[in-house]
Symmetry: C2
């Protein structure tokens, strides 16, 4: 019911990195797609099988050095229900290797509908006399625009199953300020107001680490806001996208961490997944080894920036 | 690239109603679940098959009197990838009957990730030399908290495939005001600001009807804001949830329509889906006929309220 499990995993691996699994067919070595197409057809199902093979290879090379993965739901939905089945199989496989899984779905709704999303991604679904895990992630990203009615149902499921959520607060994209940076009549920005709501929602899910189970998404591309929010929200754990491909560096994210060097996990998706495309002369069968090398470089850069 | 197709369908059926397909196992007549469990097992797959049978029965009784259906993604995700397959099959079946399909997914993300969502739900996905419709709805609900970077990719797909979107503006839930009613430093509320962004985004998707392809979600439970927004946003078509089970009545939604009686579509989910539970002495095999009777009552109430 907090992020204690995630914090423990980060400390064990001395690595505050989450590897984003946002696979597009373009990112895959050709031999993987060719094999899957030959077996399952050149269609959504074949593509979905190729994605799973790719993810599995990455997880095999990452699980002992990276504490968490973050599959992005959009890239699976794009391949239809077969893609969504790959999402489920990816989560299952990452968990079997001991990884913490954050499903990046930015889900949002109200009441029983939000309960359905929370049950889907974090809890269980009752069917007749039994209950089943539909997706079974450890945490889910959510959007708080609808207010407490959209968050309370997730809190309840997090309590029941020891799971967590990350609420969008200040996103990494260029236009995030259009609404999020606007100032309300009490002088606070929208993103700060959303951050304050996270602190309040988190009271129900407080962990021994001092961080609650209600985290916040804050982009690496806004280092000033990252530091401002770290100070203002002492119990809110941060998920930080925007490192690498979007332009954020290790120094930019240093402000996301508290004085003990915890408080955040930094995401890299393309940087790790597509590392194999940047290594000259690499045999593409070693794509996952290239991902591992990049993950180690990222771990070392982050630790250097945090400790300085 | 606008809501002209939807408006035409509403006029043809003289009915501004969208039937929400948010099926939970509890809503289904027992004979449907029992049959599906016997055939596919008492598990997520069996449940998903039961939902599809239920939906199909409803669509068969509604398609000639109701112009649109709105499946809520959460209730399908709850049953895992098999549930998501039922979402796809439901959309396909409703479209085969000539209905306009709005997937209520409240999706949101940025850049290529939002493009992936838009391709998944409204467009096509390239695999090798071919392209496939993953879900193929006519419109998608989206959340605009991330700003233009989260909407532009959907606009592009809407242009390409003649589809539309509904952006959350003022939601129907009790706590929607926590953020949405807050006043910004220019004196406008957050919901109004979001509404103004819809008008602006819609310029790229203007239809002959005068309404664009960027609609807004505005709850039936806030009739004052509904009227305010109708006046302020002359090119923004409204999707109005909160009718019936959430407390909104026909008079409450009258303000959503313009002087020509168009400009909005009113959703009812439980009211229609569960009508069979309220008819005393009904043979449960006639659940869909009860839904049809409720849909006709709703159509007549709405038309009376709009014309007075």
């Amino acid at each position: 019911m907090s992020f204690d499990r995630l914090i423990k995993a980060i400390k064990e691996k001395n690595n505050p990195t989450v590897a984003g699994l946002d696979p597009k067919l373009d990112y895959l070595p050709e031999y993987i797609t060719e094999e899957a197409f030959a077996k399952y057809g050149e269609n959504l199902e074949g593509a979905a099988e190729a994605l799973f093979t790719f993810n599995k290879g990455l997880i095999d090379e990452l699980y002992d050095i990276v504490p968490a993965v973050k599959p992005q739901a959009a890239y699976y939905e794009m391949y239809g229900w077969a893609g969504v089945r790959t999402l489920q199989k990816t989560i299952e496989y990452a968990k079997s290797k001991g990884m913490f899984v954050i499903t990046d779905g930015k889900r949002n709704d109200i009441g029983t509908t939000m309960t359905a999303y929370a049950a889907a991604h974090l809890g269980k679904t009752a069917v007749g006399a039994s209950s089943f895990e539909a997706f079974g992630a450890d945490a889910l990203t959510v959007n708080g625009y609808l207010g407490t009615d959209g968050i309370k149902p997730v809190i309840d499921i997090c309590k029941q199953y020891d799971k967590g959520m990350f609420v969008l607060v200040k996103t990494s994209n260029p236009s995030s300020g259009e609404l999020q940076d606007r100032v309300l009549d009490d002088g606070l920005t929208v993103y700060r107001t959303m951050g304050n709501m996270c602190e309040k929602w988190g009271e129900e899910l407080m962990g021994e680490s001092g961080y609650s189970g209600v985290g916040a998404v804050v982009g690496a591309t806004y280092p000033e806001q990252l530091s401002e929010l770290r100070k203002a929200l002492p119990h809110t754990f941060f998920l930080v996208p925007g490192y690498g491909a979007q332009g954020g560096g290790a120094k930019d994210v240093a402000g996301a961490f508290d004085k003990n060097g915890i408080g955040a996990i930094i995401n890299s998706s393309r940087g790790i997944m597509c590392a194999w495309k940047k290594e000259e002369g690499l045999d593409m069968h070693d794509y996952a080894k290239a991902a591992r090398r990049e993950a180690l470089r990222m771990r070392d850069s982050l630790n250097e920036a945090i400790n300085n």
